[in-house]
Every structure is written in C-alpha cells, then in structure tokens.
C-alpha cells in the first residue's frame, strides 16, 4: 500500500472520518454491512443504511454486535465482502466470533472506532484496545491484520483496500481507529483502488475462491468449520495458520517515517496520537531538537525490523499512546534494549496536546 501519495492532485471533499470509512468500504466493493448502534460511530450505520441499498447492497441493523459479526461470518463464507463496525464495548462482544473467523479463515473487515474504557467508559476517543486487537482479544492462537488510520484520508484509503487484503490471506482485517478520527472533518480525496494499493486494477476484481459455501452445484460439497477433532489435525491446522501469519509479517508491514533521516530521538505513535506527535515534533525542531516520528500503520504485523534498525541510529525513543502503555511493550521488544524507551500516555477520556508531548520529550533527552 502506498501512503502519503502526493502524485494524485484530484479534488478533495470535506468529510467526516466515519463517513470516509463508509465511502472507502463501498469503493472497495463492500457487499454487506451489519451493525448495532454505539457512539462514537453511529454515523457509519446511518450512512450505510442509506448508501448500501442505493446500489443493491445489503444493510442490516442487527440485534447485537454478537449477531452483527455472525452475519458477517455468514456473508463471508458465502464469498461476499462483508463488514461491521462498532466501538470498544461492541468489539468486545465480537471477540468470540473473531476467533471463529480466524479459525475458519474467513476474510472480512471490522472497524473499531475506539472509545475509553474499561467497561462503558465514556464516548471520547481512546487507543486502549491495542492489546485486544493485536494480541488476540478472543481465544486461541490467531492474529488479525490491524490497520491504524491517522486521519480521515486514511479512513477512506484503508477501508478501500482492506477487503482485498483480507481476501489475499483469508483473514479478518481490523481497522483500529478512534472516536476523534471518526468524528473529525478533513478534506479527502476519493482515490481509486490502484492509486491507494499501488496494485493493478485487476486486483480489485472479485475472485471466486474455491472454498465458498453457495450450494454444491457442479462440485463436491464443502464444509467450513473450526472444530477439528481428528487426531493431530488441529495442530496441523495451527501450523498452517502460523505459516500464514509469518507470511503476513514478511510482506504486509507498513510504517510511516517522518523526519527520521537526521533524528536522534524518535517518537513512536500510531493513529490520532501520531497526529499530535507530529505537531510536537514541529515544536521540537523549532527548538533545535532533532526529533522524528515512527508511525506504525500496521499494528499487526508490527514493524519490528524497522524499529530495530532505527534504534541503531538514535539515542532515545518516546512512545506516545492514548492508553497507559500497550504498544510500548512491542516497541521495547523490537528495540532489543539497545536504547531507552520512555513512555507518555493519556488513558481513556483524555487527549494529548502537542506541548504536553514536547515537554515530556525535552525532559527525557
């Protein structure tokens, strides 16, 4: 995937993050959307309820997030591009079926417009579901490709390419956003699939996979299941999944480096926190501090190698997250203990100011 693509000078339209997510999904070929209301992402279901039927696609308001994700399961196994969205408490309810989707290797897209927790928390944006998304909030040994948009354009871009990414690996893709990004308005360029993915348009054609359940006309019956009881078969299945996850690690890592060429200190931040960190780096640069930003775009697979190689060149890392320290664990692992990794966090219900991050940066260097 190409990011920060500046070659395309098409007209931009102002759009809210949650709406950009819908537009991206529709442009990406979403066949069916299922969801249950929860703030701060109610715009998604409202917009989809209007837009999806206009082009003969499916919208259904389910009785719960449990049902929504299981409807996604049904449409995905029927070979269609299915999506749901929710915010943190609703995503918690989906965890069991996310595990089933991974076990059954069904592609689909799930968007989490995170809010503060634990529990009902509040409706302000947050990044506290990092662990849940990248470490497996459901049971079993599975992984979910997790994309973290840092702005409205990326809400559109990531929704656009996520179905194909999910299909490529037969795996759910999580778009891990937050209430701030979902609610804010920014100019968006409604790009084509090719210009975002850097792939040919041919890639956007719907493939007809050989595992879909749509009636056994002209072929042997198929089954899709995650219960694997035959002697040794579950272990074999898990090895196969592990190879797939390794393949994803080797091929799908995305990371955005900003002013890292001459940097001696790096802020590692994702999503909305990276946006604030950008302004903090502006202030630091003005004050003569050579700071830069490492922004993981894929939270899983995590840019381990990229962070490790950068740690050879810099003196310190500051991780800034809107939680009390989740991604920082992965940064510490990736840095191999070669440089000190400091942390600044704002838990659910709060958001940083650039000055706050800058002051912290000053203190640690």
């Amino acid at each position: 995937m190409k990011t920060n693509d500046k070659s395309n000078k098409n007209r931009k339209v102002p759009m809210q993050g949650n709406i950009a997510l819908c537009e991206g999904a529709i442009a990406g070929g979403c066949d069916a959307y299922y969801g249950y209301p929860i703030t701060p992402q109610n715009e998604v279901a409202s917009y989809m309820s209007k837009k999806m039927p206009e082009s003969g696609r499916i919208f259904l308001q389910s009785e719960s997030e449990l049902s929504a994700i299981n409807m996604v399961f049904g449409s995905a196994l029927a070979g269609k591009r299915a999506m749901t969205s929710s915010s943190s408490p609703g995503i918690s309810l989906m965890q069991e079926t996310i595990s089933y989707l991974c076990g059954c290797e069904l592609p689909c897209v799930i968007a989490n417009i995170q809010r503060g927790g634990p529990g009902l928390g509040n409706i302000a944006g947050s990044q506290a579901d990092y662990f849940q998304s990248v470490k497996g909030g459901g049971h079993g040994d599975y992984r979910m490709i997790t994309l973290a948009p840092a702005g409205v354009q990326e809400m559109y871009d990531f929704a656009l390419v996520s179905f194909k990414l999910a299909e490529k690996y037969r795996n759910p893709v999580m778009i891990l956003s937050d209430g701030y990004t979902g609610q804010m308005m920014e100019p968006v360029e409604l790009k084509s699939y090719d210009s975002v993915a850097g792939d040919s348009a041919a890639g956007q054609e719907k493939y007809l996979p050989d595992w879909v359940l749509d009636g056994c006309k002209g072929r042997e019956p198929r089954k899709i299941r995650s219960l694997i009881m035959e002697e040794g078969a579950l272990e074999k299945h898990n090895y196969k999944l592990a190879r797939k996850y390794q393949n994803i690690r080797e091929n799908e890592v995305l990371v955005d480096l900003d002013r890292m060429d001459d940097a001696e200190v790096a802020i590692v931040a994702f999503g909305i926190a990276a946006r604030v960190a950008k302004s903090a780096v502006d202030i630091a640069r003005d004050a003569g501090i050579r700071a830069g930003i490492i922004r993981p775009i894929t939270l899983w697979p995590f840019p381990e190698k990229e962070i490790f190689s950068i740690t050879q060149k810099i003196k310190k890392i500051l991780v800034a997250e809107m939680n009390m320290g989740q991604m920082v664990e992965d940064v510490r692992l990736a840095s191999g203990g070669l440089v000190p990794v400091k942390f600044i966090g704002r838990p659910g219900g709060g958001i940083f100011t650039p000055e706050e991050i800058y002051e912290h940066l000053k203190k640690i260097i």
């Binding site: 009785e63 049902s67 409807m71 399961f73 196994l77 079926t97 359940l213 749509d214 198929r222 299941r225």
Partner: protein, 247 residues
C-alpha cells in the same frame, strides 16, 4: 430382506454421506438428520442448499450431510443464516440447533431472525438436556427432571419453567410456519417429515420464517434404555410440549 426392500426404500438419499454416525444408540439426531436429508433430496434443492450446524451433539452434521454445511458459534446459527441468505437469497439456508444452542445462549438470535421474518428454515431439536456437555439442565428440561446440574430435579423457584419456544415465537408476525413433532415412534417420524417438508417449502415459496421443533430422545443422559426414552417422550415430554402444527 428382499421383501422389505421392495416395500420400503432403505437406500439412503443422495443427500447423506455413507458415514457412520457418532451418535449414542437410541439418540434421535440420526433420524432427524435423515429426515432433513430426504426432504432436501425430494425438493431437488441439494445443489443450492447451505446448512448450518450448531455447537452441540449435531456439530458434526457436515460429516453426514452431502451438501454444503458450515458450523456456527454456540447459539449463533440464525445470525449466520441471515448473513448467507441476505447475500444469496435464492439459496436454501437452514439451521439445525439443539435446545441449549437455540433456547439458551442463542435466544436473541432466534427471536430476532424470526421477528425479521428471515426467509430461512430452522430445525430445533429439543431433547430436554445438553447432550454434548454431559446432560446438564437445558431451558427445556422438564419440572422435576434430574440432570447433572439439577440433581434434585428442576425446581420452579430456582430454575423457572421449561421454555416453550414454539409458543413464544407464535405471536411474531414474521413467523409463517411452526410445528412441534417427535421422532419417538414411526408414526411421529412420518409426521415430522411432513412438517420439515412444509418448513422447507415455506422457504422455497419465499413466505418467511419457518421452524420445526422436534422432541428427541437422549437415552444416555436421561439414564434410560432407548425404548424407555421413546416412551418418555410420548408419555411425559409431550405433556409439557404438546405436538401439533402451532402456526
């Protein structure tokens, strides 16, 4: 043998795989699988059918039925069926669920898919217990019935009353066909087949939601012989769950 072969068709339908069941002796699931398989064959819809197995003893249904079958998380088959039927409206989509799956953990899914009038068929196997996990109380366990979690018998004050799914769903306008049958004797097996056929025809004719509740034997967990279990269905279970076309 030759005479009976002429009188009755004993060859399994093309919709059943030549596989050995893992069900206990006297269990009703095998009979109900066969009924579903025969109906699908007779309606000529094998090649456009997608079945959904539950979590429960029938989880392996995909090893027995010779058409496309998936398995849903415990209680979620009606939501999965909805997700299939909405995107493939010309396919025949049905769920096959036990009483724990449908009437306990999956109550919301069955009520709301019924209420939406989802054009699917539901085969609901009521054996008054949780077979797969070893005979615990189900929502349909009878008053006084002993299970591994009601050792003194099901009591109203602790566990409430047996849940009557058909009666609960009957007032919902999206529900177009409801029947309660049993597989405890040959006459009832024949009636069950008729009801199951109607429930699938309801879907073929795009009328809306159809459900057949089948009272079924679980001799092992009931601690009865297979014959006693059949008798218990006829003489005891049907008092709480009367048979008939409900809607």
């Amino acid at each position: 043998m030759n005479i009976s072969k002429k009188l009755y068709k004993f060859e399994p339908p093309s919709t059943l795989k030549p596989a050995r069941h893992l069900y206990c002796s006297g269990c009703g699931h095998g009979i109900i699988h066969r009924i579903v398989a025969e109906v699908i064959e007779e309606l000529g819809v094998r090649e456009k059918t997608v079945g959904i197995a539950p979590v429960g003893c029938a989880v392996f249904a995909y090893d027995y039925w010779n058409f496309d079958v998936t398995e849903a998380a415990h209680g979620r088959p009606p939501a999965v069926a909805t997700g299939i039927k909405r995107v493939l409206p010309d396919r025949i989509v049905f769920t096959y669920q036990g009483d724990g799956d449908l009437a306990a953990i999956g109550t919301a899914e069955i009520v709301h898919s019924a209420n939406r009038g989802e054009n699917i068929t539901v085969i609901f196997v009521n054996n008054a217990t949780y077979g797969m996990t070893g005979g615990q109380m189900a929502p349909t366990t009878l008053l006084g019935q002993k299970t591994t979690t009601t050792p003194y018998g099901r009591k109203i004050d602790a566990d409430g009353y047996p849940l009557k799914v058909c009666e609960m769903l009957a007032p919902l306008e999206g529900v177009k066909f409801l029947a309660r049958c049993s597989v405890s004797n040959p006459a009832n097996v024949a009636k069950t087949k008729k009801a199951v056929k109607k429930a699938f025809e309801c879907q073929v004719e795009k009328k809306g939601f159809a459900l057949v509740e089948v009272l079924s034997m679980c001799p092992v967990d009931w601690e009865m012989t297979p014959l006693e279990a059949c008798k218990w269905v006829d003489e005891v279970m049907t008092k709480t769950f009367p048979l008939g076309i409900i809607k």
